[in-house]
């Protein structure tokens, strides 16, 4: 039976096409001039350039982290191009009609229609192609509600004070190697600002796409929810199939002021490499949220792509009664490696966190959960519940759990549970005896395993995530 399961995993990457779009790409290499070039290209204020240079100088002194349970050849940071923009974006389109039709076509192929009339009802989309944001939909409607949703480049021009106030407050420039690199060279990303007391009237979504060869993508996302504000945000990612590995090092910062609520969902489907482990995206991402008094930050991620994933969406529960959540499904197949999890830093009183992590490993892949729950002395009455479950499909893969629990307050209650199992022969037999083929049976069992996480996704995307899982698992049973 397990043989059957193994053979199920083998299917082409559906988003693996390339688009023939003329690009304006910086030659490979990184130095201060490159940082200056990017800043100038984006017409950034002087302080922003200084901010970037500070990050760049810090980065030069840092070394690549090696503690994660992932292995990949050393990255030559001078072989990467740090800026690539579709040529037609030079004269920045004022409306969708002016956007290169080939670009719109690309997004249509990905199932992300950017024409507002065709767009998913109630979802505003910001599309980032290689290094720049190409279009943001539904802006007018959001603007009426007082919500700012635009590219971070635009925000730096239009709302420099807002950006300056919050940028780097949650993830400082020198936080870690990849965050420092991102701070120096980030080219675009999304900016969201929800004013005091406003509930964002629709789901916000950003779609990231790497197209150009040898380009790194370093997007930066900043979401600020003022007192009592609420927002739900979703990002999706894809890249063409290429034999070379490509680097993606993003930073996401969330600021949830008192009583604010931010829900951040990710469906990550970067190109994972082929079945022999050739190519694929290196996904080294720093995501962190700061929760003030009574604030609520929730991370939900479905990770099926990338050759190597290194990602720990975290919450600093600074304010009393703040809540942090992390719901994750990480599926690895073939030769993929994922080291992902979260950090919950409890600083305030009665802070609460929940971690539900589901790892599924198939093929020759390795999947690790790495998490930290830290209760600081001041966090009276803090609570954490963690559950990490691993599901193994086939005997060539690995599933690992590395939870760090540090408690320095005796009124805290922490519970951690982890299990590892596989799709059992009995479960497969039952499903098949009821007329389901092997592939459907595995996908149903895996979906059931992930139920608690999928339930946290916005409705439209829960369906998509289930399908994505099915596609990613195809070929794992024969």
């Amino acid at each position: 039976m397990s043989e059957q399961v193994e053979n199920l995993i083998r299917k082409d990457y559906a988003a693996g096409f390339q688009s023939a779009i003329e690009s304006d790409t910086l030659p490979p290499g990184l130095n201060e001039d490159v940082v200056r070039f990017i800043s100038a290209k984006k017409e950034e204020p002087e302080w922003m350039l200084e901010w970037r240079l500070k990050a760049y100088r810090a980065w030069r002194e840092m070394v690549t982290p090696t503690w994660a349970h992932v292995h990949y050849p050393e990255i030559d940071f001078d072989s990467i191009s740090y800026y690539s923009a579709p040529k037609s974006m030079e004269d920045r389109p004022k409306s969708l009609d002016e956007v290169d039709p080939e670009l719109l076509e690309t997004y249509a192929k990905l199932g992300i229609p950017l024409h507002e009339q065709e767009a998913l009802a109630g979802v505003a989309v910001d599309a980032v192609f290689d290094s720049v944001s190409v279009v943001t939909t539904f802006r007018k409607k959001l603007f009426e509600a007082g919500v700012i949703f635009c590219s971070i480049s635009e925000a730096l021009r239009e709302y420099p004070e807002l950006v300056k106030k919050h940028l780097g407050t949650v993830v400082p420039q020198r936080d870690n190697f990849f965050a420092a690199l991102n701070s120096a060279v980030f080219s675009d990303g999304s900016f969201v600002y929800i004013p005091k007391g406003v509930k964002c009237p629709m789901e916000l979504s950003t779609y990231f796409r790497i197209n150009e060869l040898n380009t790194g993508q370093f997007e930066r996302t900043l979401i600020v929810a003022e007192e009592g504000a609420e927002v739900s945000y979703l990002e999706g990612c894809t890249a063409p199939m290429r034999d070379e590995n490509q680097l993606h090092a993003a930073v996401v910062e969330l600021v949830a002021m008192d009583n604010a609520k931010i829900k951040y969902s990710t469906v990550q489907n970067w190109y994972p490499g082929d079945k022999d482990g050739k190519g694929g995206i290196y996904n080294f991402v720093t995501k962190r949220g700061m929760a003030h008094r009574n604030a609520h930050i929730s991370w939900t991620q479905v990770e099926t792509g990338s050759a190597v994933t290194w990602k720990y969406p975290s919450c600093i529960l600074k304010g009393d009664n703040s809540v942090g959540e992390f719901y994750s499904v990480a599926l690895t197949n073939n030769w993929q490696q994922a080291d992902t999890g979260t950090k919950m830093i409890h600083l305030g009183k009665n802070t609460r966190s929940t971690i539900i992590a589901k790892g599924i490993s198939a093929g020759h892949s390795q999947s690790a959960y790495r998490g930290l729950v830290r209760i600081n002395p001041g966090a009276e009455g803090a609570r954490n519940y963690t559950q990490c479950d691993s599901l193994l499909i086939g005997d060539q893969c690995g599933a690992h759990t590395f939870p760090y629990i540090e408690s320095r307050n005796n009124s805290a209650v922490i519970e951690h549970e982890a299990t590892t199992s596989r799709v059992s022969d009995e479960q497969m037999f039952l499903c098949q005896q009821r007329g389901l083929d092997a592939e459907k049976a595995v996908s149903m069992i895996v979906n059931g395993f992930c139920r608690e996480v999928f339930r946290e996704l916005p409705m439209e995307f829960a369906v998509e995530a289930g399908k994505l899982l099915e596609v990613s698992l195809e070929g794992s049973v024969g």
Partner: protein, 453 residues
């Protein structure tokens, strides 16, 4: 003194040790150990295996050899009333007068002969993982004396081996290296109790103790390690076990904290069908530091591991528990479970726990769980509503928390001894189970506990 100095100094002391009559065959082990000890980077905060446990207490002292004990130390210790074969070591030196006559299966390294010597030569240092346990390298560099328990095939030792390691107060900071090798051949059965005690306070010493165990096919080994020394004694301990086909190992460990106490259990299922049970209790109070690292390697299929550790941490103490279970590829049908529960009894106490699973085989059942909490307010209230004082309630509940594990011990003498010792510890030490650090009077705590419901 810098850390490099400690490494050098420890080696100098090691080199000074008497080599005994069989010096030659030990030379390789010592040389390799010394090389590895020196080559290793001194552990710091960024060393994963020592992340929470600074070795500052070791680095600061200029160590010497242990001096002769002062007379009368015997009155300061309580031995277990075990009908067994007793071996007493004082400050690392065998005390013949206090020890029983040794049966043929038990000998000192310096006095092994014939088959025993062969076993020692071929096995000593072969069950170690010096990569994960740095101080095993120091133990090798130091190797001179120790206890060999060699149980031939199908032999059953009806009396347990009871090894007592006594340390006495010292004027100068002193180091002792303690070593035990157990080789159980096919179908053999034996039990060993290692008891670490100190006679009096102001110990001023550092003990590096290492036990290597090879449990042969279908053999059975029962091991108890008791570390209840004075908190001024620094202790680094290691128990490394290799399980052959269908071997069974039942291990229990209990330790109180000290300025620095770190104990590593390293068990490898080398062949199919091994069964391991490893239970442990750790208690830290005052400003103590206590660190247990366990690492179970399932390198063969059909093995089982059941591991339960419970800790009580009070006052300003810190405890560290790191439990790793590693299932190698092809170690199918492994069943492994690890459970770790912690009771923090003071607002200044700290626990850092990390249960780890690393799994490379699919047909396995593995689980771990860890909890951190304080005494259950409901239970506190319930006891007090029956007229039991808050203090007594805390003692009862804390004791109950660890007594579950003690009650599973098959040997009544050990159960009684530990229960009596813990009772005393709980009653005399506010800081382990009380709220000493918080200055909340007992009445207030009682009210608070009651008031929650």
């Amino acid at each position: 003194m810098s850390m490099g100095d400690f490494q050098q100094q420890a080696l100098k002391l090691a080199a000074r040790q008497p080599r005994g009559p069989d010096a030659e065959w030990l030379t390789d082990l010592r040389d390799n150990g010394a090389r590895q000890w020196l080559r290793s980077a001194w552990p710091g905060r960024k060393t994963e295996l020592w992340k929470y446990t600074p070795l500052k207490a070791l680095q600061e002292k200029p160590f010497e050899d242990w001096a002769q004990p002062q007379s009368g130390w015997q009155d300061e210790i309580e031995l277990l009333p075990i009908e067994g074969i007793r071996l007493v070591f004082v400050n690392g030196v065998f005390d013949e007068a206090q020890s029983d006559t040794l049966p043929e299966q038990v000998s000192l390294f310096s006095r092994t002969e014939g088959r025993g010597e062969e076993v020692l030569r071929s096995k000593l240092g072969t069950i170690l993982d010096t990569e994960r346990h740095l101080f095993a390298a120091l133990s090798n560099a130091w190797a001179n004396e120790g206890v060999l328990l060699h149980v031939p095939a199908r032999t059953v030792l009806d009396r347990p081996i009871y090894i007592v390691h006594v340390s006495t107060p010292q004027a100068q900071p002193s180091v002792a290296n303690l070593r035990v090798l157990v080789v159980m051949e096919q179908g053999a059965r034996a039990e060993m109790i290692e008891h670490y005690v100190s006679a009096g306070r102001q110990q001023n010493g550092f003990v590096n103790a290492l036990t290597e165990v090879s449990v042969g096919a279908n053999a059975e080994f029962r091991h108890t390690r008791i570390n209840l020394e004075d908190e001024s004694l620094l202790h680094i301990g290691g128990v490394h076990v290799a399980l052959q086909r269908d071997a069974r190992c039942d291990s229990f460990t209990i330790a109180e904290g000290s300025q620095l106490k770190r104990i590593d259990y390293q068990v490898t299922h080398r062949e199919p069908g091994g069964q391991l049970r490893l239970n442990g209790i750790y208690l830290a109070h005052g400003r103590q530091l206590l660190d247990y690292h366990t690492n179970i390697e399932h390198a063969a299929p059909h093995g089982t591991t059941e591991e339960v550790f419970r800790g009580i941490i009070g006052d300003h103490a810190r405890a560290v528990f790191n439990g790793r279970i590693h299932i190698h590829p092809h170690a199918q049908k492994t069943l492994a479970e690890l459970n770790n529960r912690n009771l923090l009894t003071s607002r200044n106490a700290e626990i850092d726990t990390k249960p780890e699973l690393e799994i490379y085989a699919d047909d396995v059942r593995c689980a771990h769980g860890a909890t951190v909490s304080q005494l259950d307010g409901k239970a506190m209230y319930y006891l007090q509503s029956r007229g039991i004082s808050a203090e007594q309630s805390r003692i009862l509940l804390s004791f109950g928390f660890i007594n579950e594990l003690i009650q599973q011990l098959p040997r009544e003498e050990i159960r009684d001894y530990l229960q009596r010792h813990l009772q005393l510890l709980f009653e005399n030490s506010d800081s382990l189970i009380g709220e000493a650090g918080s200055q909340v009077p007992n009445e207030a705590v009682a009210e608070e506990a009651g008031g929650r419901h």
